[in-house]
Subunit: 206 residues, 2 copies
């Protein structure tokens, strides 16, 4: 179930104002959670920072978690227009590039704080987890699997793989290490995960 | 830094009473969090359920998170005395056994609720994360690596692996899928993770 978007308005002018309020609210939520943490985040605080009334926020979002979630969607939509994973024909290099970029993001406090807050809310709230899965998790997973299928067509990957397992194998070590702070998140670690997943743990004859 | 244990007392009788209060408190915390969730858990509630005064709890633990953490330690200590991973000489079968048991535990509401609460606290609180790493995370990781080293000696595993990466590769998919509720946690999934990690993603000649 998608979280609410601004209701359509009857004039282009009101619609523009609506969209600008929406962006101000989402930006305020994203900035504020870095300053005060998730527990300190409130609809009042977001409204005050965004220069809108509380009712404007409540009209569009049911909770602060939903606001923060849409702030993430806005961010990821704004990235560069092409959400596909790189496909140079070298799967190991492409995955290492993607995982290194994820490492950099997770190590950046501007992302760590709001992402941790959102991740905790998702872990706590099954309804938010379902929304997240539908709007961000599954589309991301589909992009990853599309890149893996391309590697299968190129003969770089086994044909008989369960791609859901593969996605978890490649991406969850970073997530787990980041969330639990169980070890350093470095480019070398990202490279190690990719190489180890590709080559497997058993001795190879080659 | 370990969380506090009961202070040693001058007579065996007082020490037994101390230990019995400690167990009552930890059991109460574990039971209560399943009923009321982590946000509903309070030192007052634990004290009342355990039949002790609040001050008794505050003397031994700094927070409800620390109480819950020790409740987990008590549980894992009580398991069966031998914490080593199974070593039948067949690594794939042994890992599948361990991961299937983890799947069963994660699917059991008696464990899911308190483990989720503890995981969220660890993710939020770097001090609790450090305590967890020292007292549970690293000892568990050492046991896993010991089993992997045995497989290396038996020629079942490559010699040149970074075992920290291997531990994350094998164990984090379950953790991630459980915490984010991103897919069903089944024995087939556990088997798939083990087989895919062992064999790797690339086509093999054999």
């Amino acid at each position: 179930m998608p979280t609410q978007r601004p209701k359509s308005t009857s004039t282009a002018h009101a619609s523009r104002r609506s969209e600008s309020s929406r962006r101000a609210i989402l930006t305020a939520a994203f900035d504020l959670v870095q300053e005060v943490g998730y527990s300190g985040l409130s609809i009042e605080g977001i409204a005050s920072r965004a220069g809108v009334g509380k009712q404007t926020i409540y009209r569009w979002w049911p909770s602060k978690g939903a606001v923060l979630f849409d702030a993430f969607l806005m961010l990821s939509e704004g990235d560069d227009g092409d959400p596909a994973l790189p496909d140079t024909g070298d799967l190991q290099a492409d995955l290492a590039l993607v995982l290194r970029a994820t490492v950099d993001e997770l190590n950046d406090p501007r992302y760590d704080v709001p992402m941790r807050a959102l991740t905790l809310e998702i872990a706590r709230d099954p309804a938010l987890a379902a929304t997240y899965a539908e709007r961000l998790g599954e589309p991301m997973s589909a992009l990853k699997k599309e890149r893996l299928r391309s590697a299968q067509r190129a003969g770089e990957l086994r044909e008989d793989l369960d791609l859901d397992v593969v996605v978890d194998l490649v991406w969850s070590p970073l997530f787990s290490r980041w969330l639990q702070r169980s070890g350093p998140l470095t480019h070398a670690y990202a490279d190690g995960v990719v190489a180890t997943a590709l080559d497997g743990l058993r001795p190879r004859l080659r």
